[in-house]
Symmetry: C2
Subunit: 584 residues, 2 copies
């Protein structure tokens, strides 16, 4: 039996900020060294941040990343050994150990784990399974590792390395490493959050431990990157399946755990790389560092806050402006914004029209008061009148119907963007996923802005999140931020007299399950009908979703929280005559 | 020596329109049969249209595509044999001949060539090289073919089948097929147009003929599909390298050619599939059907016209509306729109502001007269005044500077969108690639609309295209559509007094080459400086490009004509701190 102290450095890199990411990695190595760690794990592509996307096609970027990597490697001199996620040129890994690309392209990069000790690189491992589905495009940039696994010995333990996806397939790289003699598999990840992801991830680790008999140390990055938010939740599981450590989610953390290994070393192949374990032991690790899992609303809310905060701060925004209608969507977005960057950095704009109700205005004011944000009011009537008059000639009469509804929404968009241009504050849009899906929004109107905070949140979950946020406040003895009236009144866009969402859309309790099945699970209309949904309703919803693709293509980015968000997760053609209604 | 008559059916499928695509394929088979063809080739994924993207993730869609395919296969009863591009479930091709996916995904589809004769499927061939770069994501959906090639014998000739990319790699599938005995390689394609593509494609065919000693029959689809436009240009090349047929570009065409084959059949492997060649011979094919290659401006102009026409018609639009500023970009877009859907379906809107010059208004009128389109004029002053007043409070004074410039642009966007909502006409936007690249545009202003016709056309090429269109008119004895004054005056956005583009941007003759190197060739700032560009200029341009990514993400689609368009061709993160200026 042998024992190793590992650390999972759950850091928050910024894509492209090579110097800052290197500094964060060096800091983690220093902290792990102080705590007597043998081997510290940094996330997948920690030097570049994940995903660097087509920055990888710039040779100069890859070259700059090698300079930053070298600084991190140098920091292991006199400190503990480290496994560092980094892009490498293909010729930096041993020849013959890479697959040819499966097309006529000329990819020459590897998504690698670099093992550093004593200030130098002692080995590199190429990722084998390159995810190319959902939001992932890794076969666009990388070549796969192949052949026998390179194993390492640290503190008397035989260690194999899996880069993210490599751990996900049964009878895959993890099983091979175990067969070749690994006792501990270290897994470096950049695995984005989605609703079912944490449960699935814990199950994968349990399955792999059961399959391989190895202990697993798993590190995941944290932070927002465009539409993705990474939740961390790094874990260490013993070879008997016991949880030895679990980091909190959505925050940076250095998770340290001692792992006892029971396997024998008999089967270890030739070619093992020895890693000297420098640190003086500082006694046993602290008591188990295990943070509990939490209810889904808490997770999602935290994901939205972190995704929003990181989009703003990493893109240099210090202030946000939000159109506050008095409805529930803008209330939730305002609460998230305040939790992300503070009330003093958030400004609400109420933009009543001739159709706005008194309760909308008072609810907007109540919300702003509870959140402690500034609220300006700009009535859109003068612009509404001006445009109606200007358009009367070309349209043979003043705008009516949908044209007039969209007009009002766009006048608000113009106001918010003018305030954004003048102040430098980013406009946060307030559309939810149910609206995105059905096209129940106005291009350049309510959808105009820099970040669409809740674009992947179905309307029914919007209600749950508001209730959660209010309950959290109550539990803390604070004023619940979202007025009860906003949660209780029927949703309305207020673009014509007495308008209700349910005049145009099915009730959200009926709509959202159909959307989830049609969008996230790729079910077709006949399949949904066979599953018991109302046929006319299903056909109508599917048609709305199909026809709104052109609108979604022009939406701002927003936080992905489901298993399939609109965007690079769902690459539907705009031009498509496929309507699954008739089977043809 | 043997002889075969082949036909390349250069059709224009619509993604998802399974019934219409099947009808077009059946018509091609019927026409080829009449002309005594032995084997007719339909493009890659002709049944679904290319690229069907994530429609492929819907099992119901794939099932519906099999029904449409079966109708096309049935049409070969009593007609000539056909090679049909179609998606197949993996279990429809022989076991053991497919690669495992290179990740933990579960793809079960094949991008296939289906060989049909006598009304039934006689063989299937899976695409081997699945492009996963540039605009292509084929490893997202498909598994690769592997193992020995399935060859066919038709009219005494041994035929191998390459699906698109399979022909592109030297020492690849084409070479293996030749080594296994093929005399003729038929290549079914969906290969999008770009500036250098036609030259490259002719070179590839010449290289493959030289490498393999096989004749090659190459079919490519035509038509627009979202941002892609396919140029056709199908070709037949003899085994001695002589061109035996070349279809015209950007139009549907049935290219028929007789191919003499000089190789012997000695090396042919077991397992050859015999295809009965039913048709009665109707004498030799007509004289060689060879359409000449054309100058680049002609090609690009035709690409823009077809891409625009197909986006509109395939999405159900019959009319277009364009903001006509009196500048060159809107002039070119209007000319393209008229060539795409006819003058009576195009409406121009002149929207002068307090800063618009007299010559802009008169140039707009002259353009509309030449093109024969309706032109309405709506002065934006009333709305400009209304918004300035409404914003004075929240902004502590009326909007000035960039806020005021963007405001004017957005008021125009609101007007055009209202007209679009009221009439059902699509708004065509007029921004060019130089503006897209540098962010010299207003979100929700001049960029608001359904299709961005020239978004991938650099400004210098905009001038060339206008001159080309005028020369074409002159050659036809028609009135040149674009007034000389529009081509000759310095470009200006006219959003403040005496504004010129060159106040904000470098001269386009300097800018465009830097943009091409930075964007299309992925060069970094140090590399561009080393190549002799002005250092300060390069740093400024690179920064403009980097910072405008968020704007580009919300632009409408438009026709891709370069080797790297913004969009799925260039997947840059919005959130990125990488600035190659300092090397870090």
């Amino acid at each position: 039996m042998s024992s190793i102290r590992v650390a999972a450095a759950q850091i928050n890199p910024t894509v492209g900020d090579l110097a800052a990411n290197a500094r964060a990695a060096i800091t983690a190595i220093e902290q792990a060294t102080v705590r007597g760690v043998d081997l510290v794990l940094l996330p997948e592509l920690a030097i570049t941040g994940y995903p660097p996307e087509d920055l990888l096609l710039k040779e100069g970027f890859v070259a700059d990343a090698q300079i930053a990597l070298a600084e991190v490697v140098a920091a292991t001199a006199g400190g503990c050994a480290a496994v560092i996620g980094a892009v490498l040129p293909a010729d930096a890994v041993s020849a013959g150990s890479l697959e040819e690309p499966a097309d006529a392209g000329s990819r020459q990069l590897v998504n690698a784990a670099v093992v550093a000790s004593g200030g130098r690189v002692v080995g590199t491992v190429a990722k084998r399974l390159l995810p190319n589905y959902a939001v992932f495009d890794e076969q666009r940039w990388f070549r796969s590792g192949t052949g026998p696994h390179q194993l390492f010995r640290v503190a008397g333990c035989v260690v194999g390395i899996a880069v993210c996806e490599d751990l996900w397939r049964s009878e895959g790289p993890a099983a091979s490493m175990a067969a070749e003699g690994a006792q501990l598999i270290v897994s470096i990840n950049a695995s984005p959050y989605s609703l079912r992801q944490q449960v699935e991830r814990r199950q994968i680790l349990a399955d792999r431990v059961a399959e391989t008999g190895c202990a697993i140390a798993y590190v995941n990055q944290v932070g927002g990157q465009d539409e993705l938010v990474f939740d961390g939740g790094s874990m260490v599981v013993g070879d008997d399946g016991h949880l030895l450590g679990q980091a909190p989610t959505f925050v940076e953390h250095l998770l340290v755990a001692d792992v006892e290994l029971h396997g024998s070393l008999d089967e270890v192949t030739e070619g093992l790389i020895e890693i000297s374990s420098i640190p003086r032991r500082v006694g046993p690790a602290d008591e188990l560092d295990i943070w509990p899992s939490r209810p889904v609303e808490e997770e999602v809310y935290d994901a939205l806050v972190l995704g929003t905060r990181d989009y703003l701060t990493k893109n240099g925004f210090t202030e946000a402006v939000i159109g506050i209608s008095g409805g529930i969507d803008s209330a939730l977005v305002a609460a998230i914004a305040v939790d992300a960057i503070g009330a003093s950095a958030v400004r609400g704009i109420s933009m009543p029209s001739r159709y706005s109700s008194d309760h909308s205005r008072s609810d907007a004011e109540d919300l702003a008061t509870r959140l402690g944000i500034r609220l300006d009011t700009i009535a859109i009537e003068p612009a509404h009148v001006a445009f109606s008059t200007m358009l009367a000639g070309p349209l043979d009469g003043e705008p009516v119907g949908l044209t007039d509804e969209n007009l009002q929404s766009r006048l608000r968009g113009v106001l918010l963007m003018a305030i954004s241009n003048d102040t430098g504050a980013i406009v946060l849009t307030t559309g939810n996923k149910s609206e995105m899906a059905t096209g129940y929004s106005t291009l350049y109107g309510d959808s105009a802005g820099g970040f669409a905070v809740i674009k992947d949140v179905p309307k029914t979950l919007v209600y749950d999140l508001c209730r959660h946020r209010n309950e959290l406040a109550a539990a803390r003895g604070e004023v619940p931020p979202i007025p009860a009236a906003i949660i209780e009144k029927p949703p309305s866009a207020e673009l014509r007299p007495d308008q209700k969402d349910e005049d145009s859309l099915p009730p959200y309790e009926l709509l959202d399950p159909i959307l989830a099945a049609y969008v996230e699970d790729d079910r077709t209309v006949p399949e949904l009908i066979a599953a018991g949904h109302d046929p006319a309703l299903v056909e109508r919803v599917a048609r709305l979703v199909d026809l709104a693709e052109y609108k979604r293509r022009q939406m701002p980015p927003g936080v992905r929280i489901t298993t399939k968000a609109f965007g690079k997760d769902r690459r539907m053609p705009i031009t498509s005559r496929y309507r699954s209604t008739s089977g043809r």
